[in-house]
């Protein structure tokens, strides 16, 4: 006879299946929504002009212009800067936590690092305005600190928890036998770390960096507050930049539905969606490769 347990099992299996399918359906739904609305943008704008360095000025005095080039550069600057800071820091931290720190210290530090993920992005943006920005201005002798570097530093801090926890998992997963073999051959701790552990978890670290990058590229409020939002083509890390995310966030509230501007914002969102999708898929691939090798 089928007991209560059978029905419970049946119920949970089905509900898990439903939630799995649902999350995929939502993702596909978002993609279709973006595609459908962006399509109309490209009926009115040429693809070449959209991806050009023409100014992004939809509310122009005379003729509106929709070029995402400068915005893409803004996003690229803040994200790459963030990764350049967070990757070495995050991986170093991961190595320290899993290989060097005593267990007690590790148990204390790890939750703290993960807790930084809980800092709201408005708070980070505020810190960018009153703390990091003025500090950068003083350090580099700039009139103000509302620039790409400010955004990059804040984003680095925000993507650190992701990078540290994924990287630490990767370091932990390196089989003990590798290290023991290395020690047996007379290698010291440093040599073992650099020449054995690091190559063994290389792809896991790469996945950690990519997931951190995915986190940084999609962040909105912090960059909106801290980078100055100038639409001019950035000249470097000391320029004020406006990212794609900030543009969508700033302008979505005021735009009249059904206008070119409205659809162009969806096109911006689509570009961002595709970039993050590619990064995440690549990260998953790399991670899958590493898991396979670990076994």
């Amino acid at each position: 006879m089928k007991g209560r347990r059978f029905y419970w099992n049946w119920f949970f299996e089905r509900s898990l299946a439903v939630s799995g399918v649902l999350s995929i359906a939502i993702l596909v739904g978002i993609f279709l929504l973006l595609l459908n609305n962006s399509w109309r943008a490209f009926e009115r704008l040429s693809v070449a002009s959209f991806f050009s360095l023409a100014p992004w000025n939809p509310a122009a005095y005379d003729t509106p212009s929709y070029g995402v080039g400068a915005l893409l550069i803004g996003t690229a600057l803040t994200t790459s800067g963030a990764i350049a800071i967070a990757a070495p820091l995050g991986i170093g931290t991961a190595f320290f936590l899993s290989e060097i720190a005593p267990a007690q210290l590790r148990n204390l530090l790890k939750p703290f690092i993960e807790l930084t993920a809980a800092v709201p992005s408005v708070v980070m943006g505020f810190a960018g305005i009153v703390l990091v920005g003025p500090f950068l201005a003083r350090l580099f002798g700039l009139p103000n600190g509302l620039n790409a570097l400010n955004g990059a530093i804040l984003l680095a801090f925000m993507s650190l928890p992701t990078i540290v926890s994924v990287a630490e998992e990767a370091v932990q997963a390196v089989p003990k036998a590798y290290k023991e073999a290395s020690y047996a051959l007379g290698a010291n701790r440093w040599e073992t770390l650099i020449q054995v552990t690091l190559p063994a978890c290389y792809s896991g670290l790469l996945a950690a960096i990519m997931l951190g990058m995915g986190r940084a590229i999609g962040e909105t409020m912090t960059v909106l507050m801290a980078t100055g939002n100038a639409t001019a083509i950035p000249q470097g890390f000391f320029s004020s930049v406006r990212t794609i995310t900030a543009t969508v966030a700033i302008e979505m509230g005021e735009v009249a539905t059904g206008t070119t501007h409205y659809y162009a914002l969806f096109a911006c969102a689509l570009v961002l969606f595709i970039i993050t999708l590619i990064i995440n898929i690549a990260a998953e691939r790399v991670a899958a490769q590493w898991r396979k090798r670990g076994q």
């Binding site: 005095y61 103000n144 100038a230 001019a232 509230g253 005021e254």
Partner: protein, 287 residues
């Protein structure tokens, strides 16, 4: 239980604090009404009104042709109510050495033609432009009135007026535009750390400070603008009562305390023409 009527007001960040104080006072006299006020910018408020998501749109600028056409297409009749006037204040960091500017110089600075303070008699250094985002009524007003073309792309677009004040205070080459209410504190004293620039409409006129109320009223100070509240159709019921409260002596006192001016007949007369809208005026009722 008594029925509480809710009024939603959205829009201009210039107006949000002032309307909040007015509403707070009004609600203390009438417990049957609850007024919720949010900012976001004039453009956001007008879009919300057109989309039926707010009862009142606060706006520091007139409606655009596009918005008027959209209202017409949706069968709405927008009615304007001018409840206060605001002077736009140009602030600079004191170390720029700038005391006064002409309107034309100001326009060329914000358009990016003049890039160095030395060109207008200040301490040499690249000018840092601070302004608002395009959803801001002040952004649009300033562009229409001063630039008559696009802002320089180097304009740093801040999230709110308070952020402009903060940034100009910190940036030795900074210039920004803000509503008078952000410079004059409730006790009548001035915000420290920034310098208020005296403006001249053209080279033949005297440079006047927006802190001089006589210059504002006489029109000598060039950047004085009406603050609007738009409704769909003539305001009725509690909304009407709230607008009447704004025009009452108590409402006017709150407006003055917050650094704004109650509207005066010449300004209203000059503006009704400009807005080419149905306007409603409670000042004649109350006086």
């Amino acid at each position: 239980m008594r029925h509480v009527e809710t009024i939603t007001i959205r829009g201009s960040d210039t107006e949000v604090n002032l309307v909040f104080h007015l509403a707070e006072q009004y609600m203390s006299t009438d417990s049957a009404v609850s007024i919720s006020i949010t900012g976001g910018g004039s453009g956001v408020g007008i879009a919300a009104l057109l989309n039926g998501k707010t009862d009142v749109a606060n706006s520091s600028r007139a409606l655009t042709e596009q918005e008027l056409a959209l209202a017409k297409a949706r069968g709405m009749t927008l009615v304007a109510h001018v409840f206060a006037a605001d002077a736009l204040v140009i602030i600079v960091h004191p170390s720029t050495g700038i005391e006064s500017l002409t309107l034309e110089q100001l326009g060329r600075i914000y358009a990016g033609d003049i890039r160095d303070w030395a060109e207008v008699g200040g301490r040499p250094g690249t000018i840092s432009l601070y302004g608002r985002q395009s959803n801001s009524g002040t952004f649009v007003y300033f562009r229409e009135k001063v630039l008559k073309r696009d802002f320089s792309p180097a304009l740093k677009q801040m999230n709110g007026t308070a952020q402009i004040v903060e940034s100009v205070m910190r940036d030795p080459y900074g210039i920004g535009y803000v509503g008078l209410g952000y410079i004059v504190k409730a006790d009548g004293s001035l915000r420290q750390g920034v310098r208020v620039v005296r403006l001249r409409a053209d080279v033949r006129r005297p440079a006047v400070s927006p802190l001089n109320e006589e210059a504002l009223r006489s029109g000598l100070y060039p950047l004085v603008r009406p603050l609007y509240q738009f409704t769909n159709g003539e305001p009725q019921g509690k909304i009407r009562a709230f607008f009447q409260f704004e025009a009452s002596p108590m409402g006017q006192q709150i407006i003055v305390e917050n650094g704004y001016l109650p509207p005066w007949p010449e300004m209203l007369a000059a503006d009704a023409e400009l807005a080419s809208l149905k306007t409603i005026n409670f000042y004649s009722d109350s006086q």
